[in-house]
Amino acid sequence: VREDFEAALRRVFDAEVPHVAALGISVEAFDGRCVVMRLPYGEELVGNPETGVLFGGAVSTLIDTACGMGVIAALETPRIVVTLDLRIDYLRPALSGRDLMVRAECYHVTRHVAFSRALAYHDDRERPVASAQGSFILARDSTRETSGLQPGAVPRDGGGDGR
């Protein structure tokens, strides 16, 4: 069952999320609560044309995607996860022309919220380019009878998304 779940996740993240596909992000490794993903270097993703370094926002997408997938991996039954907040610290400049890896770990799950952290690096995990920490809202478990109550952390302004 676990293998099916992993295969399904790979498929979703490799091809069925348009923006992930547009960036060429792929799943490299998958181990319980840890997910490793790769963002191939692309000239169209450069944020500073004088240095050729990727724009931070592309790194954000890589990290957000990996953290969210790490949360799904840590859950017993798959649920939709929605990013609540994400903080990224840029520790050293990324290098031009090099792929970026991220290793994300979901380190705590509560009923409504999961917590993840991640490091982005080129080759050496001991020399990270960026470090990140985020929280994720878990959508209500559709396999269980649910009340009309929503998690309290999200503004409730009609036409809600079920968070």
Binding site: V17, H19, E43, G47, F55, G56, G57, S60, D85, D161
Partner: protein
Amino acid sequence: MSSLADALAHARAQGDLKPLVAAIPYFRFLGLEAELRDGQVLARLPFKDTLIGNPMLPALHGGVTSAFLEAAAVLQVLMSIETVKVPRTINITVDYLRPGRAQTVFAAARILRAGQRVANLSVECWQERDDMPIAAARCNFMIADSAS
């Protein structure tokens, strides 16, 4: 003089941000647009399918929202602070407030402090109503021109 420096000089002199946005590959990749209103950058991101993060809803990818907020902040720094380089992001914290729907997003940034080396900004983005932001960010940028 590089095309980036030319575009920056043009934007500051004419208030026209098109060449500046065009000079940054990732902004072109997103399809970002920006204009200047009384010194304030208004960034705009028209919807397109490749920005989708959840095809079921469909909703914008959270990373797109984050990148767009950061881009609006970078443009505001470039238009407000005398620097000739793209500011380097030290950190960014994004709060996701509402789902990003399949429509245009707008963003505006406010400089809370511009020091000798570091600028701190608050950024919000919204879709239909500017009093209902879909996400907000706080970010710090290194703006010193010397290697530091």
